[in-house]
Amino acid sequence: IEKPNILFIAIDDLRPELGAYGSEVAITPNMDALAAEGLLFNNAYCQEAICSPSRASVMTGARPETINVIENFSYFRDLNPDIVTLPQHLQTAGYETVYAGKIFHPGYTDEELSWSRKAYSGPKVEEMPERVRGYVLAENQEIFRKNRAEVIAKYGENAPRNGLGKGPAYEFADAPDNSYEDGHNTELAIETMKEMAQNDKPFFLGLGFLKPHLEWIAPKKYWDMYEDVDLQLTDQHEGPVNGAAMGLHASFELRARADIPNYGDIEEEQAKNLKRAYLATVSYVDAQIGKMLKALEEEGLRDNTIIMLWSDHGWHLGDMGIWGKATNYEIATRVPLIVSTPNMPDAVRGSKTNALVELVDMYPTLCELAGVSIPESVEGQSFKPLLTNPN
């Protein structure tokens, strides 16, 4: 039996603000089209609403406390030297595993064990713009450099304050898609996929998008898409009545940005711009996903490729008075999850399921779909049955 390829699309900080999830403002035709061909999960939840714990949990199939990763400063491999990650496990079943962009938390990417090869690095990549990490506009690069230098001078290079000393919260330069990192990484992933298509081995290709994580930076055309869109802000400006005081925070992540006030209210006009910037980067990511899926189709691989699209957690866009993630509330823990498999029944394609699932369930699900055993360390539950019986 020919093993299916796996395209594993990770998106950073994307709440279920997509057309397919009922958003009336988000412009996401490519993810909506994927949902129309697959199964959309209405009730998918992350295990912790912050990057490293959520991703370490996804990739090891274990809950954050099981692997002792509950913040962004612990490397799961240091603490769990023998744990087998999803791509590592697939390698033993004959898969070629490779990633472009952000799958694991940066710096904790398990290069030696999880990945069987590097992403494409052939001549075409050299024609791409030099990899840009961050702002395209010189003035914003300068603001970032200056603020960062001040922080380092004051606190030292290794101080646990890497969230401080930031540039502006958003930038939309008149530049091509690959001037920003997600566009570049998509091209890298496409070239890698074409290369792997020539091999006999099935592949696990991780394509990880850095947006819509702050800073919200993308080509101007995506900002312009929301020119005439009436963006409504949330009407829920306070935390829950009688809620836990320790359950809320002061929007630290956003307030670290150069153009955001350190304290006090975010003005309505600025809030609308922030929401527009968030959505614009969602549309930017959506466009890159469209390119990836088109390339998969053109390469003739779509019919034998499982596509799993997910986000590491949600995001408060002013909801409960918070800008950011890092809470236990619905808005931070509910995530988009869309799955398309080659042999999904036509009756299931384009449908939605209300079944509860957790991101930790993705690991065993992919194992089952690939016909691979599930390691004992995995704590999730395969939701493969839902792919044929979503009700």
Binding site: I50, P64, R161, M246, L356
Partner: protein
Amino acid sequence: MEWKTAAFTQFPSPALREWAANPLSKGMRETSFGPLLEEVEDRIKKQQGDKWNRDLFENRLMGYSMRTSQYRFTVWKDYTDTKAKPIFFELYDHQSDPKETVNIANDNPNLVAQLL
């Protein structure tokens, strides 16, 4: 078909773990985040009264949250001590309150006990 009846998530207090591992960096209070951190701390102190303890609230407190088809139930407790009693409950009814605007834990002790 039987299916799982709850999804679990967790988050440590205070919600600053993006930039600070345990223990919370002492220097954090001297940054521009300092006043914000104190603002959050004051809110917690006000709510917790005698139960306030800086070490617990900065380094050992975890919110464990469970989402069922109808409810979100969150328990805040010392995660370093499995026998420690919860110090705060949150309960939201998604049938009547999908935006989680009112914590109804105090009005529903039996349901809290059942979910716990």
